[in-house]
Amino acid sequence: MVSQTPTGELCSIPALLARNVQVHGAKAAYREKEFGIWQSWTWAQTAQEIRNMALGLMVLGINRGDHVAIIGRNRPALYWSMVAAQMCGAVPVPLYQDAVAEEMAYVLDHCGARFVIVGDQEQVDKVLEVQDRLPNIEHILYHDKRGMRKYDHSHLNWLHDVAEEGRAGHQRVEAELDARIAELTWDHTCVMLYTSGTTGKPKGVVLSNRNVIETARNSSEFDRLAAGDDILAYLPMAWVGDFIFSVGQAYWTGFCVNCPESAATMMTDLREIGPTYFFAPPRVFEGQLTSVMIRMEDAGRFKKKLFDHFMAVARRVGPDILDGKPVSGMDRLRYALGDLLVYGPLKNTLGFSRIRVGYTAGEAIGPEIFDFYRSLGINLKQLYGQTEATVFITQQPDGQVRSDTVGVPSPGVEVRIADNGEVLYRSPGTFVAYYKNPESTASTKDPEGWVATGDAGFFEEGTGHLRIIDRAKDVGKMADGSLFAPKYVENKLKFYPNILEAVVFGAGRDRCTAFINIDLTAVGNWAERNNIAYSSYQELAGHPKVLDTIQRHVEEVNASVAQDRMLSGCQIHRFLVLHKELDADDGEMTRTRKVRRNIVAEKFSDLIAGLYDGAKQVSTRTEVTYEDGRKGYISATLELRDAKVVPVAKSRKEAA
């Protein structure tokens, strides 16, 4: 284990802020695009802004240990308000901004927030909607004034006004504030993050200063992150990854956090900033690759030829060059030419020209997607982590990157595999507790500090890399006792650009079946090129030609699954394409877009029955929730299809 000693006096985020003012005072700390221009703040300016906010909170009467909920998209002011809360001895609790009011109400109630700091009117409305049930809430502060003029401001304040009040009244509260900053230690809570939880209510994960800062230090050193780096802060602020990247590592190293103008401009902003350190879940990389491919389909013949030729070169030698393996001079020359003509411009359009370290995690990434980026010379790596570990459990060192592992244990982290195959870890980042939930804390973290991840996996012999199979509880048995690993099959399916989501069933049954969600962008584009008219997702999903394509994909996956003797029973015998996209608003997915298997199985039980009783068609009616929270129903008649499977017995014989 890495040393237990505090890192000098730097045992809180406010302390790191003070250090950054000393060391990097005139360097950009934050940038945000507003009104079409990138505005920026140096560390010195940032410290002033944060201090004013903290003074303002003091004037409003914030107490030690208060919880301050923070809701909104990534904006410097909201990041600052988290640090301001910490200065006052309070605990910031970032919430998912796209959660419906109901979900927010649970978290706000559970943490007992006295202060809620939000981005704009939309969030104010949501909080006001549930406020009468939440007597704890005393002050709501908002950052964006727009549309707020008519509101009753008795408990509502413009964040800017609060900071102004703080500045004006600094003499009254300054001493007290400085005292509170000084008393912050390793063991004070740094942040509380609610896990979206695939089952049950969200749990508040308490992370101490030690958790956050030691993890930030270790991981920054691992990838040699430094003050000159740039990141784009676009992932939900409530997610532990964003907190570690945009707060932990940013304050540890002093690098610059760039906030996009809006969610819709993310890609443009990415291109303009050109981050050097970038994290994205696989679906972002997938989406970008899909849009590149679509653009190439529409490009002229010469351009397409050029692209195909040099991409073939890149696939052959790109990853080796990136990993520093020997490559012939001729190939290096070819690659250099390709870089000039294709990879360079392409990376520039994607916003990846400057990337030094890129990470993906959360889901398995398709090997061809992963290789695509690496062959372009983008150092994309995988990591494995969770909120309870303050992100990092394992990660891939430079030069040892593969799409099918999640790397070696991160610095300071111990990992072992339990008898049932579950992955366990112990690290400086291991969370303190679940807030107000000692039972769950006890069942997750044993007295020696080992935490069960809930994932099944194994260490690869020879390399020492960890491979994850599936959620431990999702790895089940089929009726004949053979292994059932749905995630494994689903991931293979999802590697096809046409398939957005897949849910495989089969636990305790004699064969497997699947639900498929098509990717509206990819399939829609294909439909447009082939003159197939459609008016909705539902119509496209039911189109016979689409079903044919999906069937081909399923059968290819079956062939590939059959190769693995252990898992050959997981081939998909029958499937259907769902008439709606699985949606977090309908509870079918978590906010981080993980499928809630049980809820899906329950909600569409009629369809599952159809898949197992051999029906050719099933009519169904499904409740949906619109963006504004209203509910409605959609009806559909779905076609159920058989897919070819490779006979298990035969494949065994071949293998034998």
Binding site: F35, G36, G147, R149, A264, T268
Partner: protein, 277 residues
């Protein structure tokens, strides 16, 4: 019938949600418009007050668009007077009306398809640019500064209407709903005293309609812009407007608050298609 409108206090009033409605901004007096022998508008009078959202509704072919075109100068009525800001307006060309501070959008969208969203909205500020050709050539710096000031105003509008992501996109490539929003942005860029919207929600889906409604209300609320709009979707109008003029076959058949209009027998008849005798 028009009693409700006439009993309104001249200096204006405050609405239930706390917005100030001011004195009369524009008044149409006995307007009659003919195309050849066909009367599109017959003897219609009504006023538009500062700060209000005024709707003109009616079934298809009732003459609503003609009325809007009279206000914006695209048509010149044969009879009647148009009063704007306390003075009678002589017959004018549309561009002169625009320069008086009356901006508009079109039912079928009239944007500069070949230009980017940003440039489209910038054209909305053309009438406010003061330097002439010679000045632009000789004092490049000053012209540039002026350009920057206009750009800043335009960026505020882009932010307000949440179209940052399409700033540089050529308008021709945008879907219908966004085009409507860009057109609204261009009209707003002129900082109009009166904003005319010709069926702002035509052809939109439910979600786009809700967005547009919110933008119209916000524009009125944030900038205090007076808005006159045409719509045939009754529900939308009733939620949105302070006062409503109802037209049918070129005549005015109702004028008053949405509640008045809802209970007006002539209006009910017109919408239920009772024959005119």
């Amino acid at each position: 019938m028009t009693a409700a409108a006439q009993t309104m206090p001249a200096e204006g009033w405050t609405t239930a949600d706390g917005r100030k409605i001011g004195p009369v901004l524009m008044e149409m007096k006995n307007i009659t418009l003919r195309f050849g022998g066909v009367k599109a508008i017959t003897d219609i009078s009504f006023d538009i007050r500062e700060g209000e959202i005024r709707a003109i509704i009616g079934p298809n072919g009732a003459g609503k668009s003609s009325m809007l075109n009279v206000i914006s100068g695209f048509y010149v009525p044969q009879e009647g007077e148009v009063w704007f800001r306390g003075a009678r307006r002589p017959p004018m060309k549309p561009y002169e009306v625009a320069r008086q501070g009356i901006a508009r959008t079109f039912q079928n969208i009239a944007l500069f398809e070949g230009m980017s969203v940003l440039n489209n909205i910038m054209t909305g500020r053309l009438t406010m640019m003061n330097t002439n050709i010679a000045q632009q050539a000789l004092w490049w710096g000053r012209a540039q500064r002026e350009e920057d000031e206009h750009r800043e105003k335009v960026e505020k509008i882009i932010d307000f209407l949440e179209i940052q992501h399409i700033r540089k996109t050529p308008v021709g490539r945008l879907p219908y709903g966004l085009k409507k929003r860009v057109e609204l942005a261009r009209a707003l860029a002129a900082e109009p005293k009166l904003l005319l919207l010709d069926e702002p929600m035509a052809g939109m889906n439910v979600e786009e309609k809700e967005d547009m409604c919110r933008f119209i209300l916000d524009v009125n609320d944030e900038f205090g812009t007076t808005i006159a709009l045409i719509e045939h979707d009754m529900g939308v109008v009733m939620d949105l407007s302070d006062r409503v003029v109802v037209m049918d076959y070129g005549k005015k058949i109702g004028d008053g608050s949405p509640d008045d209009i809802r209970s007006n027998q002539a209006v009910i008849d017109a919408y239920l298609g009772v024959s005119h005798d």
